[in-house]
């Protein structure tokens, strides 16, 4: 047996021009969440509890694209999704289209533990959340001013984007001057790092 191990991620496709202060903010958040997981492992919590605990923390912080700080739909609303899987017996739970559940990963865990199914979506997931008594909030809790701005940019570009936060100087005219890398057919500068 090799001992415990943990990894955390906050998303891929980072703008290479991400400002230093944003990089530092990201690394501080990742480090904090990693330490939460390490403490839980040292307390002998099982793996399934640790992953839920860490992802809840990431969902609550608005920096990355999950929970609070989620990307917006074309209508300016938030629709979140999450999944969780326990490798010991391959039980799993997933939710999609949740709009008022504060921590979607915990709802996914409840689907796994408390329902006869593996995946619930939209109104069924919301109804299950009410039955389970999970913490629920208004949809605008998840919406940040940064993301409202990004949606505006996306609509102007008539594109669907990864939700990455970018400094304004990395898009628009500045991006045109330095030919950008491309991802998903679009210049990297229109993507905001998560």
């Amino acid at each position: 047996m090799g001992g415990w191990a943990i990894a955390v991620h906050g998303g891929a496709g980072v703008d290479p021009n991400l400002p230093k202060d944003r990089q530092e903010q990201a690394t501080r958040l990742l480090t904090r969440c990693l330490q939460i997981g390490i403490s839980a492992l040292r307390s002998s919590l099982p793996a399934i509890d640790v992953v839920e605990l860490v992802v809840r923390e990431l969902e609550t912080d608005p920096f990355f694209n999950s929970g609070r700080g989620s990307a917006l739909t074309e209508k300016g609303t938030v629709e979140m999704e999450a999944s969780i899987m326990d490798g010991a017996d391959r039980r799993c739970g997933a939710v999609s289209g949740v709009t008022t559940v504060k921590n979607p990963v915990s709802l996914a865990r409840l689907v796994m533990d408390k329902s006869p199914h593996s995946y619930l979506a939209f109104s069924g997931a919301e109804e299950f959340a009410k039955q389970m008594g999970v913490e629920m909030v208004e949809n605008d809790y998840f919406i940040t001013s940064d993301n409202v701005g990004m949606l505006k940019l996306a609509k102007e570009a008539n594109s669907i984007l990864f939700d990455y936060r970018i400094p304004l100087e990395s898009c628009g005219a500045a991006a045109v001057e330095n030919p950008p890398l491309h991802m998903n057919g679009l210049p990297i500068s229109v993507y905001a790092p998560e």
Partner: protein
């Protein structure tokens, strides 16, 4: 998208992924994150969480593929992750984090960067973006 993978001191693996999806997406769009086998997978061999171009991750069944090549091709965790990112992404950009039941931990991405942090009981720790 955010995710976490863990192997505990009993050798049990688990994975979780959560996301708001794509900016300006259609209402009702479902990505890879809630799809078991695509964005998230865990079994008795490993646990994987993916992030990136969701449609490419779905096409490649990325998370399950890591476990499958370990199981059927006998690759170790790093070899499996390298193989999947290198060969199974179909020109898409993505990354993943993974742990094995033996206590290994790794990440790999073919995008410009990926926000990630890893640690192991032997004292290894890394936090990175690029």
């Amino acid at each position: 998208t955010v995710g976490c993978v863990v192997v505990d001191s009993q050798g049990h693996c688990a994975a979780a992924t959560s996301t708001g999806g794509l900016m300006n997406k259609m209402v009702g769009r479902i990505g890879d994150s809630p799809l078991i086998g695509s964005g998230t997978y865990a079994c008795d061999i490993c646990a994987v969480s993916c992030t990136g171009e969701g449609e490419a991750i779905i096409r490649g069944t990325l998370a399950r593929d890591v476990a499958a090549v370990m199981e059927y091709k006998g690759l170790d965790l790093q070899e499996a992750v390298d193989f999947v990112i290198g060969k199974r992404l179909d020109k898409g950009k993505a990354g993943l984090i993974a742990v094995s039941s033996k206590g290994e931990v790794t990440c790999r991405f073919n995008s410009v960067g990926m926000f990630r942090a890893c640690a192991a009981e032997d004292g290894y720790m890394e936090v990175g973006i690029w």
